[in-house]
Symmetry: C2
Amino acid sequence: MKYPNGIKRQKTTDNRIRYDNRGMNLESDLNDSNRYYIDKEIAFIYKKPTPIQITKVDFPSRNSAVIKEAFFKEPSTTDYNGIYQGKYIDFEAKETNNRTSFPLNNINKHQIKHIENVYNAHGICFLVVRFNKLNSTYILFAKDFLNFLKENKRKSIPVKYFEEYGYLIEEKYIPRLNYLKIIDEVLGGIENERC
Amino acid sequence: MKYPNGIKRQKTTDNRIRYDNRGMNLESDLNDSNRYYIDKEIAFIYKKPTPIQITKVDFPSRNSAVIKEAFFKEPSTTDYNGIYQGKYIDFEAKETNNRTSFPLNNINKHQIKHIENVYNAHGICFLVVRFNKLNSTYILFAKDFLNFLKENKRKSIPVKYFEEYGYLIEEKYIPRLNYLKIIDEVLGGIENERC
């Protein structure tokens, strides 16, 4: 497994005692981290709102509106995007309770196409995948994700593939998930062909 | 007024006959244009979903969900972002029926802060403002927008300011609003200090 400098392997036992009651959810961890980056003016990365189709709206008063019926739509892009060091950054975040692999039905074909587009357009693009039962959260860059899809017919990506090609994200108090540290290492280092 | 090379002034009479029944709405024009850019693999720019707060969801069956109550939230960022030529691009689009100025209450303070952040982070950031009654749609780059706010206490930006500092977007059949042409001119030209 590749570790960026200074990033140590986390314990991966299920019994690991958590430091606080946060971090139970990948989305809230990423939102906290992004809030930290914004406050420090390091990066401006946001989760996109959930795409919905609104079919009924009530206007109880002149200045208020209540949505009375709406449906979730399948996302056509990834969840997070923004700017870091002048560059476009784009990623999808998923967690799984599976211990051995990441099921690919978590990511739809429009999202895969989008990841391919951003990769080809020289954006920084990756997946953030958390294996809940292993207490491990990985970055897998678009290049390695797309390579896997090209070379495999499997319906899931084994944990071993993340161990070999992914980068383990350091978890700490603030920021919760310091994923930009990995981007720094990769962009600044000899591995910058990766993203 | 500055015109990028090859971009001609549109007629601005109210009686101008439209070529088709599209183009009556800035959002749909921009979405059509973005769809064109995506299809041609020129740029990958999307409108973010409308931010809402979901308060009630029904599950009529195992695999379906119906939102029964939700509220519109005030956006904290701009509507559109994406990647063009490897760079981060970010803009807000607004139309007004006002003939003489663009009312600033169209843009909230979180959005202004976001525009400032993206500008400082060296993203390509601007407003797209359509004056419906004048049949004119302008790009106003973040730098000029923020300068206006700094130097004026006015609650609206006069059309004259757009004429002087903005760029008129060419309107045609496909793409409907070729706004990236202006970005090309500005990025590639002597005026690239503007964004």
